[in-house]
């Protein structure tokens, strides 16, 4: 018991073990979805190999002296930007996105690793003593740090990852202590844009609400007017944004708004995913017994739709276990974010939490049909070395922060 408590003090098992269990779940699901597949049979072995590689990355991140993270924040960010530029110049196109950098079979997705650089640099910048998060200048810089990689990722284009970076930046601002008004200024254009997706009337209602809130905040006329004009611009920006989206992305938005509009086209995956999960029942059809999975109704199921395998073959119980494991990780990280020894560490942990949660919410949401289909992997479960190694590195960093939570230097 004492040894256990001592170990827990040094190594947060409440964070590490759920992560490993999730990876095991993922390995089972990958095995099931590829065992009968003509070309993807090697995926299980590769993921297994990456699992060990990611454990190594986790250990390195865990053992690095904590101050190193602050030192490498700027180089890591610059390196991330460099790889994102490089992938645009000489990357390989996979599923319509130029996101793959590599030679032969060895390769990686720079956007996955860029997450680490962005989290570290945002944390570093927000936690700087000179930074006043509520000043227009610093707010602009912070938004700039977040939106530079977003711009590069949009050029690939990989909308899903870009959304992740945008939300990551917003949540870190939120955690960094942005004032309510500041948050309002940053968020309101997004709300208006989202409302305008549903039509003109919702757009005007949103704009009206923003006007009311501006009156409530009682800022000076110039600031209020500027914010409102930005919001009006955002409302019409959506139309522009909609047109720069790839046709398959436009389809996805339309499909989310009306899932039955095109059941064999863009809505197909979403529909089949629901059928797979729904047909699982309480205990599932059994490992390797899911006909939706084994008959490959969902293309590339081992990536974004891996959760269907769990839902179909392990049923409601298996699906909920996965969610509970994630919930354990989130509560652990949230607690850690509030006990971390300094603002930087707290922000890093929040970055890790937000990153994992956004992936979780969008991926699971699309699998069960409560969010649109946006191509994002499910952390720890989806097949993919870059994502797994990046996520385990982030867990390693969080473990490192946990280990050093009581140190004051």
């Amino acid at each position: 018991m004492r040894i256990g408590a001592k170990l827990q003090d040094k190594l947060d098992l409440g964070l590490l073990l759920p992560s490993i269990f999730l990876i095991v779940f993922g390995l089972l699901a990958i095995y099931s979805s590829t065992i009968n597949h003509p070309t993807a049979q090697g995926n299980f072995d590769r993921q297994f190999f990456w699992f060990f590689l990611s454990l190594a990355a986790l250990l390195i991140a865990y053992f690095i002296p904590p101050h190193v993270y602050r030192i490498i924040a700027i180089p890591a960010y610059i390196f991330s930007l460099a790889t994102l530029v490089l992938v645009l110049l000489m990357g390989k196109t996979v599923y319509g996105s130029k996101s793959w950098l590599g030679v032969g079979t060895l390769g990686m997705q720079p956007s996955e690793f860029a997450k680490i650089g962005v989290i570290l640099f945002l944390s570093y910048w927000i936690s700087r003593k000179q930074t006043d998060i509520n000043s227009v200048k610093d707010l602009a810089i912070i938004l700039g740090i977040g939106f530079l990689p977003i711009a590069l990722i949009m050029m690939q284009p990989d909308t899903g990852t870009a959304i992740v970076f945008a939300l990551l930046t917003l949540f870190m601002l939120f955690w960094g202590g942005i004032s309510l008004f500041g948050l309002f200024v940053v968020l309101s254009p997004g709300v208006v844009m989202f409302a305008s997706v549903f039509g003109t009337l919702p757009m005007f209602i949103a704009l009206g609400l923003i006007l009311l809130l501006l009156i409530y905040f009682k800022r000076d006329l110039f600031v209020s007017a500027t914010v409102f004009v930005v919001n009006i611009a955002a409302a019409f920006f959506f139309d522009y944004l909609y047109h720069i989206l790839q046709p398959h992305q436009q389809k996805r938005i339309e499909t989310f708004l009306d899932p039955n509009a095109d059941p064999l086209g863009a809505g197909y995956n979403a529909l089949q995913a629901k059928v797979a999960i729904g047909s699982g029942g309480l205990v599932g059809k059994g490992f390797l017994e899911g006909n939706q999975t084994q008959l490959r109704f969902i293309p590339e199921q081992w990536t974004d739709f891996i959760y269907c395998v769990v839902g179909e073959e392990f049923g409601f119980i298996g699906s909920v276990i996965v969610i509970i494991l994630f919930l354990l990780i989130f509560t652990r990280l949230l607690k850690l974010a509030s006990v971390a020894r300094d603002h930087f560490s707290s922000l890093v942990v929040m970055g890790v939490l937000v990153l994992l949660f956004i992936h979780f919410a969008i991926n699971i949401g699309m699998n069960v049909g409560v969010t649109p289909v946006i191509g994002l992997p499910l952390p720890f479960l989806s097949y993919g070395g870059s994502s797994l190694i990046a996520n385990m590195t982030l867990i390693g960093i969080a473990l490192n922060i946990h280990k050093n939570r009581k140190r004051y230097d």
């Binding site: 999960i277 029942g281 006909n291 939706q292 049923g315 949230l334 919410a361 069960v368």
Partner: protein
């Protein structure tokens, strides 16, 4: 921390709320999908991956009265196109190999456009071996074309029977709309003859096999190793009254002739032989009928599709003399002793009605034997039109027999109402009737009606409506289930039949009889010839008769068009068919079980 601690706690709570809130939504959604709506999704997922393929049921086999197979089934290859996978660029190539005109495939695909592209469309049934070989060799480079094995009617047992059996045909779109629950696209359905009449008994129940398919509808295996498959169940077999030997003989004798023959069993009404000549080749209807063949049939001057046995209505000539005699005797207009003088004809008004000979004073039996016209001219004048017509109706003239195949004409049996209608009331005289007495004039009977009439004479006024099918064999129990048909019992004195039968016996067997050509050495045949006057050419030869005379087992009516005298042309045919039916070796009768086994 830079932030105030209260603000920090609020932010933490907001995040907790978001995380827990979203997780709750997901768990609720999972509960709804996996627990509440589970049934719906299970159903959907089955639909996805399990494909039902219908297996057509073999139609029932036809047996003759001795359980010889006369129509069966045989496997045939049909070529199918799956519209969802088929590449129309292949049209030209496939059409040239199939040896059909360009546009053939696109026409078929266009006609089937309303159906799901995942349902195969048959572009050729009964494909020849050469095409199958070509298809197999080139399968790799062809998209969406495959073959299917199906069953077709096999008519290779020697009997043509085109007007009896009828044919099956791919179900039409309008029939399919009406009977959606039973039939599917591409099914064969009885289109004429027995195939049509007994469709329900013959068709059987389709089976299906369940196969697993992947998301692109490609077959990847059997579902549950076929445990849930249902094999098709064959239709019920029919037992016909036909006698293969008699039928074969009748068909052979009619080769190159135009006419018809109907032979029935007097006690049951079962049809023993049935020919309408010229006929057509049913095997050409077994698959998709080529339009060339159809055109050649429809444009043939001899009308091979027309069923002469049930639809041709000619004056029955002297074969009708028995009816006049029956009417007169039964109504008491004459007795067996009544004699009439035949001076070689009858002067009636300004017309002279001829007889073939001068018969002198003649009684009813002799008049039948010698076919004396004068006797019957006089007779009908004595009976009167109404009474004569009444007896005609009793024997079924002027109305359809209700035989178990379609297309039958009622014939013409005039009564006063008929003459009133045609000539106007009071505008026709008794002179119109004279020729009716010898079966000429405005009188029309089909060979089928004549056969029924002969059967009633042979069996003393008792028989059943003529029909082909005696019974069917229940496919589950192998029980023979007899079918019921209307019984006929005429209220005519036995003495009348005795006299008529005597006359018919003498006509064949005594010197001076007019039907001597029907005589057989070992079987007593009774009969009466006739010659149907034909204003357009040579007369039609007729014969009606039955055998054996004392215990009739077969009653027969023969019509040969445009050849002349009945005794010369029709009686010998009847004789040979009677011989084929009654004079056969017992050895030929195989056991029932063996025959059933062979047929299946």
């Amino acid at each position: 921390m830079n932030d105030s601690s209260s603000g920090f706690i609020i932010r933490k709570r907001i995040l907790s709320f978001m995380i827990i809130g979203f997780t709750a939504i997901v768990i609720f959604q999972l509960f709804k999908m996996q627990m509440l709506d589970n049934y719906f999704y299970v159903e959907k997922s089955m639909e996805n991956s399990v494909k039902k393929k219908l297996i057509p049921a073999p139609r029932g086999v036809f047996y003759d009265r001795n359980f010889n197979v006369i129509v069966s089934n045989k496997p045939a290859f049909s070529i199918e196109v799956l519209p969802s996978e088929y590449n129309v660029k292949q049209n030209t190539l496939i059409e040239s190999v199939l040896n059909v005109r360009p546009g053939y495939i696109s026409n078929i695909l266009e006609a089937n456009k309303r159906y799901s592209p995942h349902i195969p469309v048959k572009i050729r049934r009964n494909s020849d071996f050469a095409f199958m070989a070509w298809l197999n060799e080139n399968k790799e480079m062809l998209e969406g074309i495959d073959y299917d094995i199906e069953l077709q009617r096999d008519y290779s047992f020697g009997i043509n029977g085109s007007h009896i059996f009828g044919y099956t045909k791919e179900i039409s779109a309008s029939q399919l709309r009406e009977r959606r629950s039973i039939y599917n696209m591409g099914d064969y359905i009885g289109f004429s003859g027995i195939e049509k009449q007994y469709e329900e008994i013959l068709r059987g129940n389709k089976g299906y096999s369940l196969t697993l398919v992947d998301s692109r509808q490609r077959t990847i295996g059997r579902y549950l190793e076929g445990k849930e498959d249902i094999p098709p169940s064959k239709g019920n077999d029919l037992i016909l009254g036909l006698d293969a030997d008699a039928q074969l003989m009748a068909e052979k004798l009619f080769e190159g002739k135009r006419g018809a023959l109907v032979a029935v069993e007097p006690t049951t009404g079962e049809i023993i032989a049935f020919v309408s000549s010229p006929s057509f080749d049913l095997s050409k209807f077994a698959s998709v009928t080529s339009s060339e063949y159809w055109d050649s049939l429809s444009s043939d001057m001899d009308k091979p599709i027309f069923n002469r046995a049930t639809q041709s209505i000619y004056p029955p000539g002297s074969t009708f003399k028995m009816l006049s005699a029956i009417a007169a005797l039964d109504a008491g207009v004459i007795t067996e002793h009544t004699t009439i003088n035949c001076p070689g004809g009858l002067q009636f008004g300004d017309r002279f009605f001829k007889c073939m000979h001068v018969h002198g004073r003649i009684g009813v039996v002799e008049a039948i034997k010698k076919s004396c016209n004068t006797f019957f001219y006089q007779l009908i004048l004595k009976i009167g039109l109404e009474k004569w017509s009444d007896y005609g109706k009793q024997f079924g003239f002027g109305k359809r027999t209700g035989i178990d195949i379609q297309e039958e004409s009622p014939g013409i049996l005039p009564d006063s109402a008929y003459y009133d209608r045609v000539y106007g009331k009071g505008k026709w005289t008794k002179g119109f009737l004279v020729s009716l007495g010898i079966g000429q004039g405005e009188l029309g009977a089909s060979p089928l009606q004549l056969a029924k009439y002969t059967a009633l004479i042979a069996n003393n006024g008792k028989s059943y409506e003529p029909h082909f099918v005696r019974a069917y064999i229940d496919k589950y129990t192998s029980e023979i289930i007899p079918l019921s048909f209307n019984k006929i019992e005429l209220d005519i004195k036995q003495k009348v039949f005795d006299l008529i039968q005597e006359g018919m016996f003498k006509a064949v067997n005594e010197p001076g009889g007019t039907a001597g050509n029907a005589k057989l050495d070992n079987i007593e045949v009774s009969g009466k010839t006739g010659t149907s006057q034909n204003p357009h050419g040579k007369n039609h030869a007729l014969f009606v008769g039955y055998a054996p005379s004392k215990d009739p087992k077969i009653a027969i009516a023969v019509l040969v068009e445009n050849v002349g005298f009945g005794n010369t042309h029709a009686a010998p045919i009847a004789r040979e068919v009677i011989k084929a039916y009654l004079d056969k070796n017992e050895i030929k009768k195989d056991s029932f079980k063996e025959k059933v086994a062979r047929a299946n």
